[in-house]
Structure formats: structure tokens, C-alpha cells
Symmetry: C2
Subunit: 427 residues, 2 copies
């Protein structure tokens, strides 16, 4: 038995979705899909199997270590993608001369990452990807963030539950220049500062030191991280440098999007991936109990990195795992399942064909019908359909066939309605 039992599990770190699990997943994917359509994004997709070479060229080292790799029978090195961005870059580069820019693309992509299993961390998840490629103005950042917040609204999570924290790597570069850190050290400084909260300040100091930054400058860098408002930034830099102008415009657009209360400047937001070059952002629950709900930012070198013509873009990734945890603590997990479905049952085989005809007629009128596959006693039928939460139930017995009518019972209100069978079937 135990041997049999263990074979019933999915592979370690992979998820099964039973019908009750699909309610939440369908609601999540539905909100993502609806928001993308509402904001004029076009959907795209690609196979979860990608060439290892592409992923090696595009992803960070840490990511490459965690890729599931294998070879096909011709010895090609293949992999299960850990993220969608290299694939996006490849697909756009392939048609760069014929696509219209800026393009706004959306995908729900399954991604795999071989991580040591810590407290239920999974090895695969679904990630909604939004990208606007070929638009240099911050209207791209404003648009992807508004789209993601719209999706969260559809899931029942508004500004009281979460906030988008943003920063700008180009702004940070100006601030680093301002305190005398040369550009050659900025990238390593970003990656070190991104680890704040995950490792100690001493370890970050060691990282910065290893990057060739001396103690006085490290102290100045730590002082920068104390900045808490844009006004403090403008006091140091003025408002005229381009990154400052961009952030001011970004906030105006965010305001016009009606999401001003859900967006705040936060100098601690850096993002781990090295390809970001401008505004970066992460959305967190208000209590900061969970990892980021979504994150993203501007990249400039993505297409060039895969061999395409350089083009700037903004990307956003929104996974299905953290949002599920946040919906759970906010009591927003959808439970509806069969609530839009009419159940039809019958007492004896003699009423089976009539029940099929009624089901067929209702389905062609647009009603979802769960038709019993065998006869049932009325008690069993109403107990089963009541428990399953169907909207309505129609039970066909010999008397109904004789009278030419059926009773449609609303399972929530228990109201009954008597209807002629010929009215339903039109015969």
C-alpha cells in the first residue's frame, strides 16, 4: 500500500491541480487574462522547452545553476525555462523588422527552477508576463503597473491590501555619482544592496569591499539607503536630470491612472536581475508578510543580448504562488464551482432518454448542465446535487413523463418551478 501510495504523488516540487484547486487557478488566470485584454495587450506563448544555450546567454548565473536540463536524441541541449524573458527576446528578435513597435505582449508561462526544497517551495510555478517593448517613455512603466493592479482589483485586492514600491536604477546611479562612486562600481553596488534584508549589513559591506569600494564610500552608500522620499532625492540632485524628470512624469501618469495611493517611492527596491537599467518596482502586501506579489522594470539590452537590434522595454512578472497565499489570508479565495450549473437526474432507465433530450435542449440554449449518467433515487439525487452546490436541479420521474412537465428546483432558495418539457425541448 505504501509503495502504491508513493507512486500516486507528482514528482517532488511539482503540483497537481484537482478540480477544487482549479477554482483559484482559473480565477487567477482569468483575472490576468481579463486585465491584459482590458489594457490592450496581445497574448503570445512559447513551448516550455527552450534551448539551454539561449538561457545561458540571457539569465544570471544563479538562475543557470537551477535550470532543469536534458538532451534530445540528437544531442541538442534543452532545458525547461526558468523565466519567459529570454524566450520573449528571441521571439521579438526573430521578427524585429516586421513587428510594430511599441508592442504590448502578455503571456501566462509555466516556469521551472530547481531549488532546494524549503518549506513547501515549489519547483514550478506559473508567471504572468507583461512586456511593452520599443517605448522609451515612462508611460510604459505606468501602463504595466496599472494593468497588474487592475488584475489584483479583479481578485478583490485593492489599495488597502498592497502597495507598489518603485525605485530607479538610473536615479540610483546619479546618487552614486553624486557621492563619488564611479560608474564601474554601480552594477556590483546594485546587486549587493539588493541583498539587504536577506544578509547582514556586515556581509553587504564585505561584498562592496570585495567590489573595490573603500570604507568611507561604503558608509556614504549606506547613508543613501536612508533616503525615504523623492523630495530628499531632489534636494541632492535637483529636478532637471533626466532620471528625475522621468520619475516626476511617471508619478503624473500614475495619478492619471487613478492608482496614486497604491504606488510609493522606495529606495530599497533594486531587483536581483542584472538586466534592469531604469525604473524598477515590486508590489508587496501592506503588512510585508510575504514575498513580492509582482515585480519588474525597464531593460535596455535584452534584444541585443540575444543578437537582435537594441530596443528598450519594460517587463513585469507576476507569479501564482505568492498571490494565492495573500488571497488566503484575506479570505478572498473563490469557492464557487458548480454554482452556474444545472443538474439533471432521472429515476429509472425509462426516463433516461427524456432527461438527455432536456439536457441537450438546455445546453444548446447556453445553460451548463451536469446530466446524471445513471438512474438515482430522488433522495440520493437531491442530496448529491445539494452538496455539490449546483444552481438548479431537474429530476425526471415517470410521473413527469406522463404529465409532460418537469420541476426545476433552485437549490439555494428551494423555490420550485413547473415547466412543460415541450417548452424546453421545443418539440
Amino acid at each position: 500500500m505504501s509503495q502504491g501510495d508513493s507512486s500516486f504523488n507528482p514528482p517532488r516540487g511539482m503540483r497537481d491541480f484537482y478540480p477544487e484547486d482549479m477554482i483559484l487557478r482559473n480565477a487567477t488566470f482569468g483575472a490576468w487574462t481579463a486585465a491584459a485584454a482590458r489594457f490592450g495587450f496581445q497574448s503570445y506563448d512559447s513551448c516550455v522547452v527552450e534551448s539551454l544555450d539561449l538561457l545561458k546567454r540571457k539569465s544570471g548565473e544563479e538562475v543557470v545553476d537551477q535550470i532543469y536540463t536534458f538532451a534530445d536524441k540528437s544531442g541538442r541541449e534543452l532545458a525547461l525555462r526558468p523565466e519567459m524573458t529570454p524566450t520573449l527576446a528571441r521571439m521579438i528578435a526573430a521578427r524585429q523588422r516586421t513587428l510594430s513597435f511599441p508592442l504590448k505582449w502578455s503571456a501566462i508561462a509555466q516556469c521551472f527552477r530547481y531549488e532546494r526544497m524549503t518549506k513547501g517551495r515549489k519547483r514550478e510555478h506559473y508567471q504572468w508576463n507583461l512586456d511593452i517593448v520599443g517605448e522609451s517613455s515612462v508611460s510604459a512603466e505606468s501602463e504595466v503597473i496599472a494593468t497588474a493592479l487592475y488584475a489584483l482589483g479583479l481578485m478583490g485586492l485593492g489599495k488597502d491590501k498592497l502597495c507598489v514600491h518603485f525605485n530607479s536604477r538610473s536615479l540610483l546611479s546619479l546618487l552614486l555619482n553624486h557621492i563619488g562612486i564611479p560608474a564601474a562600481h554601480h552594477q556590483q553596488t546594485f546587486l549587493a544592496l539588493d541583498k539587504r534584508g536577506k544578509i547582514s549589513d556586515e556581509e553587504i559591506t564585505a561584498l562592496l569591499n570585495a567590489a573595490g569600494i573603500d570604507k568611507p564610500n561604503i558608509d556614504k552608500i549606506f547613508q543613501l539607503t536612508q533616503i525615504s522620499t523623492l523630495d530628499e532625492v531632489f534636494e541632492r540632485l535637483g529636478k532637471s536630470p533626466l532620471p528625475c524628470q522621468q520619475i516626476i512624469r511617471f508619478m503624473e501618469l500614475i495619478d492619471a491612472q487613478g492608482i496614486r495611493d497604491s504606488v510609493m517611492f522606495d529606495i530599497s527596491v533594486i531587483r536581483g536581475l542584472s538586466y534592469y537599467t531604469g525604473i524598477v518596482f515590486e508590489a508587496f502586501d501592506t503588512d510585508r508578510k510575504f514575498r513580492a506579489i509582482f515585480g519588474g522594470g525597464r531593460y535596455d539590452n535584452l534584444l541585443a543580448d540575444v543578437g537582435g537590434t537594441p530596443a528598450t522595454g519594460v517587463g513585469l512578472g507576476f507569479g501564482d504562488v505568492v498571490i494565492a497565499e495573500i488571497l488566503a489570508v484575506n479570505d478572498k479565495v473563490p469557492v464557487a464551482n458548480q454554482s452556474q450549473v444545472t443538474a439533471i437526474g432521472f429515476m429509472e432507465d425509462n426516463q433516461h432518454l427524456q432527461a438527455v433530450s432536456i439536457a441537450t435542449a438546455l445546453r444548446h440554449k447556453g445553460t451548463s448542465v451536469d446530466l446524471a449518467t445513471h438512474s438515482e433515487k430522488p433522495k440520493g439525487f437531491f442530496s448529491r446535487t445539494g452538496k455539490a452546490g449546483f444552481k438548479q436541479a431537474i429530476y425526471v420521474g415517470p410521473d413527469d413523463i406522463n404529465s409532460g412537465t418537469v420541476r426545476i428546483k433552485d437549490l439555494a432558495t428551494r423555490n420550485e418551478q413547473i415547466i412543460k418539457i415541450s417548452e424546453i425541448t421545443g418539440s
Copy 2:
């Protein structure tokens, strides 16, 4: 350049879906999903990565040869599933004591098969799976076939374009008994006969001979394959054996489903997989130019094979590749893309924020809006939005801001409507 170009392709045999490819895919998945809901199926899913051991135990030898396999870092043998059925059996077996039967489950599953590349044959495809498990009566067969035909109807393909051909392995067994072929030879006879049309009759004779069947019996088997109607079957067996009774009932149910004209008996339908035990079926285009659109049948040993309690079921698989070819020759490939979307543009940066406000208000009223990310000349805006096939276009210029109105242009009829901005934004 050529080096760059080659890196832009997906791995061999895998598909990219650009936005224009997603129109057909979304329509296909949409029809599958809608039909499954209309017939009361519940959705389920599982990860595309499955344990190789499960697949080896459940799939035919030919299939196992074509599985993409790899190991995780702990040495576990994993695989990309070639079909969904072993996963379905595992998931049901894991909860066999708590699930309610009969259960009706639906999944759209990506499946991989490493095949030699012949004329564009792909190595991955999506397959819609419908299963009714725990129902012994032929109402299960009738229900899955009606559901698949309903989906085809949603795609614009009716009874004039296709037909479901069915047979019964238990009926075939009776016919084989009737001519003196012992039960021990039936399975090999099925697999040999399934190859008719793919290999020559001489080769099938050789296969039957190798299975230990002598020449006179092989001749009798070939005579059976000439049967073209159920009446001819009943002449030999009468109507009282259970498989005959089941087929008679099946046809009554098919009639009540209103799909009698789309279903015909065809003794040549056997199906290649060994796990079928009862009725088997395949849907073909009327001209028989393409491979089967969908296929399936009854299985009895699936759950027991993975270590569960035996339960009978009916499964149906419907791939996304053949249907795409048939939709293409029937001119039924959907082309609509942005036809439900309103495009908004603006002349100068000064009108950008107002354009964002209008877009935001419309989106919250349920309109899909593609908002320009930068200013455009009117000629460019209307040329771009006309080509893309948007439903409506709103172009905001300085005069509009002054007058407090915008013009909404229907891009198909070219009608224009002047509306107060305050009416849209409610401010």
C-alpha cells in the same frame, strides 16, 4: 547574422505562438473549455513533468521509446508526459476513497513525443482530455462524444464536415469467438487490425500468423472486417449479448443527444492503445483527408494498473494540430484580434494625462482600451489603428481639451460620435 538568426528559432519540433497564432489557439481552447463547462465537466491539471516510472508502467512500449527523459539533481528519473491518461489515473487513485464517482474531468494538457520529424510533424501539442470515471453504462461514451461534437460546433464544424466512427472491442471479441478465435489471441488481433491502412494486408497476415493464428482463421478475420452495418453484426450474434445491448442503448442515447447524423458504426476502428476494453471511437473529416480529429474509448484497468482500486471509465483525447488543419481547409480559422478593443491616441504630451484618464475610466466601465504610449500625428494614429482592426478610435488633441469633448470614431463604419470628456470620466 545567420548565426543570430538560427538562435531565434525555438528548439526543433517545438512551437512559438505569436499574437496572430494565439487567435486560433485561444478560439480552440475557448471552445474546449466552454463545451466542457456546458456538459458539467470539472477542470483539473497537473505538471507536464511526470515520473518516468509511472509512464513506463502505463504507456505502450512504442510510446515509452518516444518519451523525453531526464534526471533531477537527486537522480530521480523524470519525463515530459506523452499523454495525460497515466497522470489522470495516478491523481484519481490517490483520492479514490474521497472522490465522488462517476466523476467527469476535463484538462487541456501539453504533451511531448519525440518523433522523427516528418513533414512538419511537431514534438509537442496540446490535447483536450475528457474522462468519465466510475460509470459502467454507455451513457458515459454518449456524453463525452456529445461534448466533443459540441466543441466542434462552437468552432463552426457541423455534421456535414465530420463523422464519429465507432466500434466495440467487446463486440469484436464476440465476433472473434463466433468464428473460433480463442480469447488469448484477441488482443494481438486488435493490434494487428489497427494497422490496416498503414501497412499491407500481407504484413497484417504475417503479424496474425506470428501471433499463432492459422491461415483459415486469418481469412475469417479478414471477412469480419468486411462487415459494414450493425445489422450484419446482429445477424451473426443476435441482439441479446451484452455488447450488442450496449451498442443499441448507445445509439438510443446518441439519438437523444441530437447527434445521430454525426455517428456511425465502423468495424475498422480499433485504436492503437492496448488499454481499451469496450466501445472505441474516432472522429474524421468527411473526406478522410486528415488523421483523426479526436478519439477514445472505454478502459477498465487503468486505475488498477497504477495501484488503485479497479474502476471503469471512458476517455477522449482531442489534439490541437489536426483540428487546425481542418479549420484551415474549411475557411473557419478565426481572424478577429483587436476588433473588441478601443484605441486611444493623443497629439502632444500635453494631452497625454487626459488620454490616460479617459482610458482609465473606459477600462473601469469594462471597455478594452489600447492606450498609445507616446504622442502621434493624427494621420499616423488613424492609419495604425485602422490597419490593426480596432473597433473604435479616440484621438485627443489640444482642441478637444479646450472644448471638453472627444470624437469616438467607429473604424468599420467610419461613423463619428462627439462625447463630453466629463461624461466618460465622470468628473
